[in-house]
């Protein structure tokens, strides 16, 4: 997947013209924003908490190797098997390898952005293993053969009628009523059978705690509990940056995660997995594997983009973003959409593949305001725009204008010449002292720009007028 300027514009246009999608996006993102604000308002000390969280995340990344090694040591001590994957292909090979060794043909999955990122389902299917997504939203888009359009509400773009049609098809029936509780009951029944039959459960990890070698999963539906409890094997795929050194840190993390995401003080189920079942445990997986996924993350450590790794995937920046709220998730052409996706996708998957995303922002700064870790997303969007130019990835027109601007501003004589030309050239466009753009650039006729003054400040200064 990619997001060139044209692709982004085309996909965003489709989304903007889809009245039903616009209504759904507005309602959902609005509700998430209100709920988040209300949940945070109940903690008078939440700003201090966010400061502390940011400091903790920054300190963790500065010393990430040590925390990962501690995690590995602790997880291994309780019987989990820890794997390391440089990239997506390597991670997929590890997971399919475990499944094949165990003779697994059916896998149940709980929601995981990391496995979306590496296209694990495709790899499993190619190896003859059937992956079943069990988060209701993820299952809907899996049945539809689509990508998630929101980090925490992946099927935000689907209507209940569309869901009913998908479920009916899966059940081999002609029709199902488009009734939400009834559809939920259908999903419960169909997926319950899968949970109990699966030979392996795959999850992501909201965070991993180095102190005890634990993986923490946050869900509302209970599918996270199912995939880590019912099958004989559990595999968690988790990005190397999602480490909390201690349980104190994990508590801080969990205190902000659900509140920032959905406005819940705590998600319905917060599951902590620390190795396979112990002697005496009546049930639980015999094998627990943790795949630590790099996929471009370690390259960011120590760079001007390190801060992006503080992200905990709450989705608050999507909900508040005026671009995401109009363009929707699919415009970004990546599992990661919104402001976080606009920064993360080019960094993980290649700026040349996602040249439009650094521009998919008005730089209003709302994302930074709501981020629990106060990640400076606008700064990194600007850095990426500079990288686009430096790497020759900007469009020829933009390159020409940027280089022209740089040349002009470097010398006061060129500047004076160009502004003099501009003063002369702008005359046909001046209306009532405002610069009105030609109709092709200004279809509604509302856009006006300040014009170049008759005399520059330097001239006024020289002539003693200021």
């Amino acid at each position: 997947m990619t997001a060139t300027m044209r692709e982004f514009r085309d996909r965003a246009t489709i989304a903007i013209e889809d009245v039903r999608l616009q209504t759904a996006l507005e309602a959902a993102t609005g509700r998430f924003c209100t709920a988040r604000a209300a949940a945070l308002a109940k903690l008078p000390w939440v700003e201090a908490m966010r400061d502390q969280f940011k400091a903790m995340r920054a300190a963790t990344l500065a010393n990430l190797a040590q925390h990962l090694e501690q995690f590995e040591r602790q997880a291994t001590a309780v019987g989990a098997q820890v794997h390391w994957a440089r990239g997506g292909a390597e991670a997929c090979a590890i997971v399919t390898g475990i499944a094949q060794r165990r003779g697994v043909t059916l896998v149940t999955k709980s929601k995981s952005m990391a496995t979306e990122e590496i296209h694990l389902n495709t790899a499993l299917a190619q190896a003859g293993i059937q992956p079943v997504e069990t988060d209701l939203g993820e299952w809907i888009i899996q049945l539809a053969g689509e990508a998630p359009s929101h980090i925490i509400a992946p099927a935000i773009h689907k209507t209940k009628e569309q869901v009913a049609a998908l479920f009916a098809q899966e059940l081999g029936q002609t029709e199902l009523p488009a009734d939400i509780p009834a559809l939920t009951a259908v999903a419960r029944q169909m997926l319950r059978a899968k949970f109990l039959a699966a030979g392996m459960g795959i999850s992501g990890g909201n965070l991993a705690v180095a102190e005890t070698g634990s993986v923490v999963l946050v869900t509302n539906e209970g599918n996270g509990r199912m995939v880590t409890s019912a099958p004989p094997v559990h595999v968690a795929v988790i990005g190397i940056e999602k480490i909390a050194p201690t349980w104190d840190d994990a508590a801080l993390w969990l205190s902000l995660l659900a509140r920032s995401a959905t406005g819940q003080p705590m998600s319905i189920y917060t599951t902590v997995v620390t190795g396979p079942k112990r002697a005496g445990d009546p049930d639980g997986p015999e094998e627990v594997h943790v795949v630590l996924l790099d996929n471009g993350r370690s390259q960011l450590i120590g760079s001007k983009y390190e801060e992006i790794l503080q992200c905990i995937r709450c989705g608050a920046c999507l909900n508040i973003c005026p671009v995401y709220r109009e363009a929707g998730g699919h415009a970004y052409g990546s599992p990661y959409s919104g402001p976080i996706g606009a920064v993360l996708s080019p960094l993980l998957f290649g700026l040349e593949k996602y040249p439009a995303l650094p521009h998919a922002s008005s730089l209003c700064g709302a994302c930074k305001e709501v981020c629990p870790a106060r990640i400076d997303l606008p700064r990194m969007l600007l850095e990426l725009r500079a990288d686009l130019v430096a790497q020759g990835l900007a469009s020829p027109v933009e390159q020409f204008l940027e280089q022209g601007a740089a040349l002009t501003m470097r010398s006061s004589r060129v500047w004076q010449f160009v502004t003099a030309m501009g003063r002369w050239g702008q005359r046909p466009l001046l209306q009532n002292g405002r610069l009105t753009l030609p109709a092709s650039l200004n279809p509604v006729g509302e856009r006006q720009l300040p014009h170049l003054a008759a005399k520059s400040f330097r001239e006024l200064w020289r002539q003693g007028e200021v």
């Binding site: 908490m49 300190a59 992946p154 935000i156 419960r188 209970g222 019912a230 705590m266 450590i301």
Partner: protein, 209 residues
């Protein structure tokens, strides 16, 4: 070079000395932990029953089982529950006590009407029950049946996650879940629907000892 070595080398090359912030201390205060717990859990569609003694709690449990029309009940083998001897108390019901009743626990739990357990702790701020795995404590008992009933002595209530972590001691169980309400989703048209994969009903009988 293995993936592990490569990743760790790259990270170590960028290692920096930083000040690690002091752990966050709980600032939450509640006058009545039980009241706060009940309010928080009720707000997310959990049900809370208050009892003045274990005996009263067991009366409420019997009433609840009758109201639910429960036939098959699967229960974790925990001290609090064994003191109650539920199988003897309600002999009309079909009981499966983990580790005591012979037979397939998984199959019984999958077809049970009610799962009965206690908790290792409960967090007042968020109305969360801490359910831990261990000998006699099945994960499926609290997950598969449509109703999960919890007997919770008031002494297990703590303020928030931070006080829980500060008091935490010893080893972690293989599985520990903070349960904060019945299973729910809003994945279809952002409309709340209760009871997707986990229990559709969560009832807590909170009693004084």
């Amino acid at each position: 070079m293995t993936a592990r070595t490569e990743i760790l080398q790259r990270l170590r090359a960028q290692r920096r000395e930083v000040n690690v912030p002091h752990p966050w201390q709980s600032r939450q205060r509640f006058d009545d932990l039980g009241q706060q717990f009940a309010a928080a859990l009720t707000a997310v569609y959990g049900k809370v029953y208050l009892a003045a003694s274990l005996e009263e709690a067991s009366g409420q449990l019997g009433q609840l089982l009758a109201e639910l029309g429960a036939r098959r009940v699967v229960a974790n083998d925990e001290l609090l529950l064994s003191a109650l001897d539920p199988a003897a108390r309600w002999p009309d019901l079909v009981w499966h006590i983990v580790g005591q009743t012979p037979g397939d626990l998984r199959a019984f739990a999958a077809a049970a009407d009610v799962g009965l357990s206690s908790a290792a702790a409960a967090i007042a701020e968020t109305g969360s029950l801490l359910i831990a795995s261990g000998p006699g404590r099945s994960r499926l008992v609290t997950l598969l049946p449509p109703v999960h009933v919890v007997l919770l002595p008031a002494r297990l209530l703590i303020t928030d996650l931070f006080t829980f972590i500060a008091a935490r001691g010893g080893e972690m169980p293989a599985n520990m879940t903070f349960v904060s309400g019945p299973s729910k989703t809003a994945d279809i048209e952002q409309t709340m629907s209760i009871g997707v994969h986990g229990p559709k009903q969560l009832s807590v009988i909170l009693y004084q000892e």
